[in-house]
């Protein structure tokens, strides 16, 4: 092979690989093509009275996001509250797998009872982002708090700083993990997995920048409360019919 032939082949190869690479890259990002984060600001509404505690949201979340199956790692979970006539409050989390029904509480003892789905509150004033020493936890332009698992050093300061217990340390990755509102789905126009599977539409996902969003309607039609408002975290997960016993 002479020099001219070699350089000819070399440049052809170079161009083809670059072109194919570009094409592949474009295909990979085609789904979120045209997605402009500055045009969105996400939030979730939860209608407590609609939740039946089936735990499908928990299961769907674990499936969708590769959350470890053991009952110590949750991006979302559902709490069951039973307030007894004597004022005693009984709380437990329904994890959809290991917990059975509580048989100890007699029906006649129960004053009121309800389920509360919980997840990362995607705070607008997030304490986790404030404390992360390396900026691995950050807020996106469209308002979602994410963890860069390639940068997280596993110091767990964010887990300590979260007032809602929404974070855990992934036992295999050894990095902090939490709900992302299924960011990989919502940027493609899909709903978060938990919202998608909820049979009673207790969870409402939407864009607060869009006047036609279900979230906007939720906010218009309900009296709204957030968890631990005194901490000034400014949650973007909003609850309707929230009981004062819920923390």
């Amino acid at each position: 092979m002479n020099r001219r032939k070699f350089s000819g082949k070399f440049f052809t190869l170079l161009f083809t690989t670059t072109f194919v690479g570009k094409l592949l890259h474009r295909r990979a990002s085609a789904d979120t093509k045209g997605y402009d984060p500055s045009k969105h600001y996400y939030g979730m509404g939860i209608q407590i009275d609609k939740c039946i505690g089936c735990g499908r949201c928990v299961e769907a979340c674990k499936e969708e996001n590769g959350v470890p199956k053991e009952p110590f790692f949750f991006r979302t979970w559902v709490e069951r509250y039973i307030i007894k006539r004597n004022g005693e409050v009984n709380v437990r989390s329904i994890d959809g797998r290991i917990s059975g029904r509580d048989r100890e509480i007699e029906e006649t003892e129960i004053l009121r009872s309800f389920f509360v789905p919980k997840l990362c509150n995607q705070c607008d004033n997030p304490p986790c982002v404030q404390v992360c020493p390396v900026g691995a936890t950050f807020k996106t332009e469209d308002g979602v708090i994410l963890v860069d698992e390639d940068r997280c050093i596993g110091c767990r300061y964010c887990i300590q700083a979260c007032p809602y217990g929404a974070r855990y340390l992934h036992p295999e990755k050894q990095t902090a993990d939490k709900c992302t509102f299924c960011y990989h789905r919502i940027t493609k126009g899909l709903l978060p997995a938990c919202v998608e599977v909820c049979p009673t539409q207790a969870r409402i996902f939407g864009d607060s920048k869009s006047p036609a969003s279900p979230l906007t309607r939720f906010k218009r039609m309900n009296k709204i409360h957030v968890l631990k408002p005194s901490l000034n975290t400014d949650p973007k997960v909003l609850y309707s019919e929230l009981d004062g016993e819920v923390r």
Binding site: F72, I153, Y164, G165, P171
Partner: protein
């Protein structure tokens, strides 16, 4: 998945009382994070003792000045290790230096640490020892000669002018050093005190309480070391020095105790949302480590002993014994203080409805043996440093220090 972490958590599940958020079963900051503030506390305390000697020129305590500095350095060298070992990704720890998030209290660690090590401690020790190292090197053979010459950075000037300059620099560094030592440990307190999500930690008093408990533990450690090392050197214990140090210790314990009492009363009186679960925590899980070890054995008993020493004229031998027992109890108490802050703060749920448990491992990176090793390591480093930089010989050093 047969992960040892999850296996451990299944066991812990049985010890959970009341309701906790499901992600809260794991205690994330383990005994290593208890060791970290304990060690930095010792650093800050030992340094503050040294600074008191220098700034106020207190004659009685001159003989432990250098020992305090070396103690501070040897513990400071070990201080980052528990943090490093505790990280999920120690391989990425350098990110704290390269990519710090300036709103994070923890990100400041690198800067505070580097400042304290490089600007304060190393410089102060170097200028304090420079003349002596040069003189030692003159009468020595290989390898000590080489070690000392290298440590002196091959400077040879021992003229009066140079020595006067050294002294001036030491004084200057000490003046910067005191606020730096305050910063080093106050900042550790801030890491906890600034977490609004955790009512056990979230307190403006936290950095100050940390600071004074640091001073207590640092002075107690230097007393302990002095009392152990001196008989080994076949020297008599200087009772004036010991009494003076114990006197400082006494005042520091009183301030520390008052601050902690204030914190306690304030919490009780304010009686916020968390008071029920915190009372439960103190009365059950922390009863031994807080009620018995921290308060009774670590604070009230030594305080009583020291008051008795001040009131009655005990003879030297009895005083020595009482001091010795007191400083050991104080060390135990301060370690328990750190334990109660770090572990205690994670034992209750942020739902304020339940308590979880901490089961310490024996082996492994986050286990008891590693913690003990990290607590012994500074003593080994100190022993080596004392060999290379004897803090008491030759006698004329003391002359040079006090003049």
């Amino acid at each position: 998945m047969n992960n040892p972490i999850t296996e451990k958590l299944y066991e812990l599940l049985k010890q959970v009382g009341g309701y906790i958020y499901p992600n809260e079963i794991e205690i994330h900051w383990s005994i290593l994070v208890v060791v970290y503030p304990y060690i930095t506390g010792l650093v800050a305390g030992a340094f503050i003792l040294a600074s008191l000697v220098k700034v106020f020129n207190i004659q009685e305590v001159q003989s432990v000045y250098r020992l305090s500095l070396l103690t501070a350095l040897s513990f400071l060298l070990v201080a980052p290790l528990p943090l490093l070992l505790h990280l999920g990704h120690p391989d990425r720890s350098f990110e704290i230096f390269l990519n710090p998030n300036f709103s994070s209290a923890m990100a400041m660690f690198g800067f505070v640490y580097a400042w304290y090590l490089m600007v304060v401690l190393l410089l102060e020790i170097w200028f304090t020892y420079r003349r002596d190292i040069i003189l030692w090197a003159k009468n020595e053979r290989f390898p000590m000669r080489l070690i000392h010459r290298t440590l002196a950075l091959f400077s040879t000037d021992v003229s009066e002018k140079a020595v006067r300059f050294d002294k001036k620099v030491v004084k200057g560094i000490t003046i910067i050093g005191i606020p730096s030592a305050f910063l080093l440990h106050g900042y550790v307190g801030f890491i906890f005190g600034s977490i609004k999500a955790n009512p056990w930690w979230s307190s403006v008093l936290m950095p100050i309480v940390f600071l004074f408990s640091a001073i207590v533990s640092g002075i107690a450690l230097v007393i302990l070391l002095y009392m152990i090392i001196t008989p080994f050197r076949k020297e008599p214990i200087d009772m004036k020095c010991l009494d003076k140090m114990a006197s400082y210790l006494f005042y520091a314990v009183i301030v520390d105790f008052s601050l902690e009492l204030l914190d306690f009363i304030h919490r009780l009186y304010q009686s916020e949302e968390s008071i029920k679960i915190l009372s439960e925590l103190v009365m059950s899980k922390l009863f031994v480590s807080l009620g018995i070890i921290q308060v009774l054995l670590g604070m009230l008993l030594p305080l009583g002993v020291m008051i008795a020493i001040k009131l009655f004229r005990f003879d030297d031998e009895l005083r020595k014994l009482l001091y010795f027992v007191s400083v050991i109890l104080i060390q135990l108490g301060i370690f328990a203080t750190r334990w109660n802050v770090v572990i205690g703060g994670q034992m209750f749920s942020k739902s304020f409805r339940g308590l979880t448990a901490y089961k310490m491992e024996l082996t492994g990176f986050e286990g008891l043996f590693m913690s003990l090793f990290l607590l012994v390591l500074p003593l080994i480093i100190l022993a080596i440093m004392i060999k290379i930089l004897p803090p008491w010989e030759p006698e004329k050093n003391v002359e040079y220090l006090t003049d």
